[in-house]
Symmetry: C2
Subunit: 318 residues, 2 copies
């Protein structure tokens, strides 16, 4: 199992495609003082007057658009709100750039978007519409806000922290796209938002040192990005990873979950973190520990093996 997981994750496109971030970002690193955080975080953190604002943008993978435009439209909203949630913030509003090949796709994308906007209670407040393209795409950016002392960053994991996931296991592999673990379309707005708000509550209570929303690279891949960005390493125990029934473990590790976060917290705060995830309707579980050596190791049945050595092969290169 251990060798298979490592082989599968190393060749997983959802992780590999993050390699391109580092070289891209290095072209744009010159920031004024009011930019508190930028690339590498789920959202940039900017100080404007007295306010701490979050700004993020997410495109929808072309594979998803080809598979199901309605679900792509829905996800374009969900993933952006998820980014703001992952930082411990509140969403304020979205803008979109919608590029459409034909009327049928248009109807599907906008219906998916409208459904998600309603469920997540966030307004679409502007954007740009390209009615005349060959290929359809939906890109969305989001503005959020947060309290200065409550923002949860990805680069602040501390050696000895427990690695904890908080994730909604109650869902289904989306019928249109087998890399999406859908836990929101079948639930009421209040329930979905309660799960998303778990990070905000963790931030308010100062319970975690770092955190990130689980996205395309999956549960382990996203945790790896957090550890790399924190200039740390870690050991993840595969047997501790909470997994839904009726899904293969490898498949699960590649899922983009509807609502899921990976955080690190001190031993002292760990039980409170788990309690908070539980109160939010998520399954919280300690899955490993942050280490000083810059390697992400996996353990299974007492055996350990390195998945990524960040000294030699980063996920993002950040």
């Amino acid at each position: 199992m251990l060798d298979k997981v490592i082989r599968e994750l190393r060749s997983f496109e959802g992780i590999k495609r993050k390699n391109a971030i580092g070289p891209f970002v290095r072209k744009f690193v010159d920031h004024p003082d009011n930019v508190i955080a930028s690339f590498g975080e789920d959202a940039a953190v900017i100080e404007v007057g007295e306010e701490i604002l979050l700004l993020s943008a997410d495109g929808i993978w072309s594979k998803l658009m080809e598979a199901d435009p309605r679900w792509a439209g829905y996800c374009s909203i969900l993933v952006n709100v998820h980014d703001i949630a992952g930082m411990g913030g509140n969403p304020v509003g979205l803008v979109d750039i919608c590029t459409i090949g034909n009327q049928e796709i248009y109807d599907d994308i906008t219906e998916g978007m409208a459904t998600a906007l309603k469920k997540l209670d966030v307004p679409m407040i502007g954007g740009h519409f390209n009615p005349d393209s060959q290929q359809s795409s939906i890109d969305v950016a989001i503005l959020g806000k947060a309290e200065r002392e409550e923002v949860i960053y990805s680069d602040r994991a501390e050696v000895g922290d427990n690695i904890i996931v908080g994730i909604d296991l109650d869902g289904r592999v989306h019928p249109s796209f087998d890399l999406n673990w859908d836990t929101t379309t079948m639930k009421e707005s209040e329930e979905v938002r309660k799960g998303l708000n778990s990070m905000k509550r963790l931030g308010e209570k100062g319970l975690v040192n770092s955190g990130k929303d689980i996205s395309n690279p999956g549960l382990i891949g996203t945790t790896g990005m957090l550890l790399e960005f924190s200039k740390k390493g870690g050991l993840i125990d595969l047997e501790e990873i909470p997994t839904p029934d009726d899904i293969s473990f490898i498949e699960w590790l590649k899922m983009y979950p509807g609502v899921g976060f990976t955080v690190t917290a001190s031993e002292e705060n760990t039980s409170d973190v788990l309690e908070e995830f539980k109160d939010s309707g998520l399954t919280g579980k300690v899955i490993g520990e942050v280490s000083e050596d810059r390697k992400l190791n996996l353990r299974y049945e007492g055996r350990e093996k390195t998945l990524f050595d960040f000294e030699t092969e980063g996920i993002t290169g950040l």
Copy 2:
């Protein structure tokens, strides 16, 4: 000439493609009270705490990307900063969604973006990178800020206002894309930003009732969008439109200028508006007047003809 202008503008893709906005927007109109303005403006206006924020997004037309990826990357920044400038605001930061087909296009787009970021002195603070698509695209969103009483809206033209353009005539048709009037690549940062800041100064002094940045629909098309959104009409005198030498008039009317704005102001404030544009290095000119009937009429050599009747054929349908 008058008939030719009307025929050409009515069939101009840069204007026609705006028809799709109205039906799109009507799916997303449910906004909370802190959203002061949204669709139809160059940027949404949102109140967050004590701050007035601007949020906008712009995609680059696929035709431009096909013609010249470097220029497309440059424009992706310029048009977003132009949006914030058009509202009388200051840019704070940008996020991008960059989708890349191959390494050569990647180098060109990012080089164009980096050049524009430096010239316009705005930071790129985050985004999303798709390294593995068939078709390349660059979408950018921008956060800006403004003072509550100084924001310039598109929907507030008043009957009897003069219609005034402030535009940089000192430029060239871009060699890669004949719908772009490039006035920025050959100029120093300070000069470009001075022109862009003209609107901020007009807002500070409260000199205009409405305004908009001139974009893809061109000088008359953009003015038409402003009048339609203000639920007014207007008469534009073709002979008064400032035009560079060595370019055909029809061609000029379809240009996306590097720096150009259309505003409306009372007769009383008109000379101050013209002065402000001049001080900003732009050519300011009264080109017409706002009227009550919801028609955009054009005049040439004493003859008048309707270009758009907003009662029956809107540009955006907003």
